[in-house]
Amino acid sequence: MTEETGKSFYETGRPGIRGWIFSTDHKRIGLLYLTSMLTFFTVGVCLGLTMRLQLMFPGHSIVPAHVYNSLYTLHGVIMIFLFVIPGLPAVFGNFMLPLMLGAEDVAFPRINLLSWWLFVTGAGLALLTIFFGGLPDTGWTFYAPYSIRSGQNVSLAVFAAFILGFSSILTGLNFVVTIHRLRAKGMGWFKMPLFAWGLYATGWIQILATPVVGITLLLILVERIFHIGLFDPTIGGDPVLYQHLFWIYSHPAVYIMILPAMGAISEIVPTFSRRTIFGYKMIAFSSMAIAIVGYLVWGHHMFTSGMSNTARAVFSLLTFLVAIPTAVKVFNWLATLYKGSIVLQTPLLFALSFIFLFSIGGFTGLIQGALSTDIHLHDTTFIVAHFHYTMFGGTGFAFFGALHYWFPKMFGRMYKEKPAKLGWLLMFLGFNFLYFPLFIAGFMGQPRRYYDYLPKFAVPNLVSTIGSWILVAGLIVLAVNLIRALRFGEKAPANPWKAATLEWETSSPPPLENFVEPPVVTQGPYDFVGKGLVKG
């Protein structure tokens, strides 16, 4: 393919490192994000492993208590702000969205570059706390009043998070405008691939929710420097107000993490069942519904913080409501698979395990959304298991699925199928060994964020730690396989999976301007028969 269309985007543009870090090409920016995020992810995983090692046996100590506090804070900050929130949009959104829409680039290429620079600046500032003033020890939630009093360098960390928020806003804004303005000729809203719908809903949340946490984190900074007193009870403020402001953003933020992941799953499932997606419009609208209802449920993080009974009942009810559009998606994916001609390749394995793990995460979310049970489960390792099932089992697995799905397009090489499947298997098994026991320990009452625990929780914790090793073994297999493929992999054809969306119509890797001729869209995004990919 490349011979016909000329050079790929790797071969055009300025040479050397400056051709990358100052490039406004959406594809290069996507890859910049990919490398920086995978680096941070690796650091985060190492921190997680250290914590699990500490928790292997009761009373077993490799790190002192205050270091453990910094470990989970840094792990949380890295995983949340540097991995899952930028997550799929920053990497695959940047790379694929213009391709999927048949555009040359995003609406504001220079702002796109700026957002990557803000991202690395924020990340750099956060890591500077290692050297200046000590790692923060507040947890990634920076709850007041402790975050105001803590002697560690919380100021720099919240400022870093503020910058990262700004980067996220700019990405969201860019995507919303791109989707409104740059769709190819003939691509109506309902001919867009569902990944684009996911990004669209996400973009709105990024725009509407992130500024609130931005100002909230700035207030922590101001509070630490000037003692304004808004969240400090000794001056007259109310720490619970901080929690409200924080979760008004941070709950919608979990949908920032999951909606693009669901979008990617909606691409993978039809491609590997060779069948048009079931209920296209329902999936598209359920993304928007999740985005809207997701705004109104932040109170469920605060059932034990002091709220009126009415407020708690309302928040609980709304929390249950969010489950409906989510379930709509799950049923649609399953219905798509039904009677499809399924090809069980690595991306589909990730997608199926996403559905499985995310469902567990979702159902346990309902348990916490119910008032009476949440009082018992609040701040136990049950919660730790729940959010790892949704964020890691959900978004994390979708991320790796998307990486395997779009790898040939991004790098123009094929990876080996067998090691990828092995890596997936290890990851999936390890994941369940790592986190499922924490549901049980949490149910028995083990609190989270402690560096030690009572002997009665010994068994689930030991299993969990062993699980973490299996998981990491899987990650290593996947990584080695992909890195090998970069050099030695077979050359990828334009459309290795026989997918029907636009990004597969250009060469792998695409040329700088994406398409030689601006595409004109006549069929739907999953019309395998119409495109001659499947016999009718």
Binding site: F108, V176, H180, P211, V212, L219, G229, P511, L512
Partner: protein
């Protein structure tokens, strides 16, 4: 010819406008968090907020409001001058707008200076010893909100300076609508009006509700 990177940067008037409005939305929400705090504490400490507001100088506040409203007018005039392809006039009005911004900041400086001189600033001993919790929060919020607003005035002023430079460099006889300069000045104007509007809300909430 080989495609050059950046060559595909197109000028899309509507796209630029949507982007700007979305950005303004985020600014409103940024301030929204603070307005929310204000609402919560005003509700909780109504009496304290009432008495603390007496400390603020309503005359200076009024003058500042007039200054900013005037600057909005000159901004609008600058835009329409450029739309009518009169860059010289446009630059004159831009300078007038920047002048208003400077006056506004000057008056703000005097106000803050007086407060700080009297020991009324966040964390001061005077504030902790002689004021009620609600009054302390009132001043805390006053300094944060007017401070953040002042920061926006400064940023807005810098943006206007840049726009002035761009207009000054317009080649003679070129239609500013074609080159995208009109889009730039319109978006800068939108930003400036937003900064104004926020003040229009801050002013009554702090100075007039006594």
């Amino acid at each position: 010819m080989e495609p050059v990177e950046g060559s595909h940067e197109h000028s899309d008037y509507i796209g630029a406008k949507i982007g700007m409005w979305l950005f303004l939305f985020t600014e409103v929400l940024l301030f929204g968090g603070l307005f929310l705090c204000y609402a919560v504490y005003r509700h909780r400490y109504a009496q304290d907020f009432h008495s603390a507001a007496h400390e603020l100088n309503a005359v200076l506040g009024c003058v500042n409001t007039l200054v900013l409203l005037t600057s909005s007018l000159t901004m609008a005039l600058a835009i329409s001058a450029l739309q009518k392809n009169r860059p010289g006039l446009s630059r004159f009005y831009l300078w007038a707008t920047i002048g208003c911004a400077v006056i506004f900041l000057g008056i703000k400086y005097v106000e803050w200076g007086a407060k700080i001189h009297h020991g009324i600033y966040p964390g001061s001993e005077h504030l902790m010893a002689n004021f009620n919790p609600g009054e302390r929060l009132f001043f805390g919020l006053y300094f944060s909100m007017t401070g953040l607003h002042g920061l926006h005035v400064i940023i807005g002023g810098i943006v206007l300076l840049c726009v002035e430079r761009i207009v000054a460099k317009l080649p003679r006889g070129e239609d500013p609508g074609e080159s995208g300069t009109v889009t730039i000045i319109e978006n800068a104007g939108l930003y400036w009006h937003l900064v104004d509007i926020i003040w229009v809300y801050l002013f009554p909430l702090y100075y007039l509700l006594t």
